[in-house]
Point group: C2
Chain length 195, copies 2
């Protein structure tokens, strides 16, 4: 009996697919533990139990908690973003609205809070946090790039991201559509006239 | 021998002063443990050792970690603020500059990060976080109150606080004076013209 490339005997997966699936399951379980219990929630035993693999399998690929968390954030990075239209106001409102949704629907609020907090005592997480946040900001900064650069780009990016981050992480308040509209309108009008 | 009220035999403190001092020492030690190690750093044993009191003394006043952390945040609340001048731009720049200083000099960055993160798994901290952040925002909101209300006040407060919180907590970047100036100028110009 011959097998066509890509087809496999029933009940068996190709090795590559199995590796991909293990990786996906383990990193998803890591994110879930992180979101529920924070940094301390991520142990090899808990991740193994949640993902349905042996601890040995997980140790073989991820020798310590940092390795697990680092890869989990890399896989977490594919957050939904707004599809740009070319209209600055529409694109900024769309991007802030996507950011707000990700905070609740993908528990990005918990992920960011854990990164903000643990990067203090665990300096190895500083780079993980910075890369994750830079990746998240990229579409918004691309939208702003034609009109802003240097310290003005930094200031406006901080205002836009901060207008979601501050109320969600520190006040338990998810900004309304009206508040997001005001944030974007104030900034766009301000940019037209401020030096 | 008689003692005048307020004077005490040498080497003895009045009971009230001793209670005040114990409280101050213990809560300062709690903040230090929290800033260094986060929520898990706050144990009665570590706080006792750092403050120089017995564990029994600490248990007598604060039966659990939450009681310690709640009182510590109440005592932490006296952050330096800008003294208002009545000029809107000066006062907003001054308040953001004080906020930035408190982040580094008083380790407010760590305190806020711990509150943001631990309010997830420890719901009793939500109120502690909200009260602490509301107290911190109050001078800025008082400055804005004559010109803003409702959802516009919420949006602008989120932008101003967020312009410090987002870069400090999530990018490890302390905004420059120039960036703070841009944040305030864009907002003030935007408010003049945006609906």
């Amino acid at each position: 009996m011959t097998t066509t490339p890509g087809s496999e005997p029933a009940g068996q997966e190709p090795v590559d697919a199995r590796v991909v699936r293990t990786r996906r399951d383990v990193l998803a379980a890591t994110i879930e533990e992180l979101v529920e219990g924070g940094w301390d929630g991520v142990t090899h035993a808990r991740v193994a139990s949640r993902a349905g693999y042996s601890k040995a399998t997980i140790y073989a690929h991820w020798p310590d908690r940092l390795a697990l968390v680092r890869d989990a954030f890399a896989s977490f990075g594919d957050m939904p973003h707004h599809t740009p239209t070319g209209d600055l106001r529409t694109d900024l409102v769309g991007e802030l609205t996507s950011f707000r949704s990700a905070m609740t629907e993908h528990r990005l609020d918990r992920a960011l809070a854990v990164l903000a907090e643990r990067a203090g005592p665990v300096p190895e997480l500083i780079e993980v946090r910075n890369t994750f946040v830079e990746d998240g900001e990229r579409p918004m900064r691309r939208t702003l790039a034609p009109v802003l650069s240097g310290s003005r780009l930094e200031a406006v990016s901080a205002m836009l991201c901060g207008a979601i981050v501050h109320p969600v992480l520190l006040r338990g308040h998810s900004p309304s559509d009206e508040e997001i509209g005001t944030v974007v309108d104030v900034i766009l009008q301000g940019l037209l006239t401020a030096r």
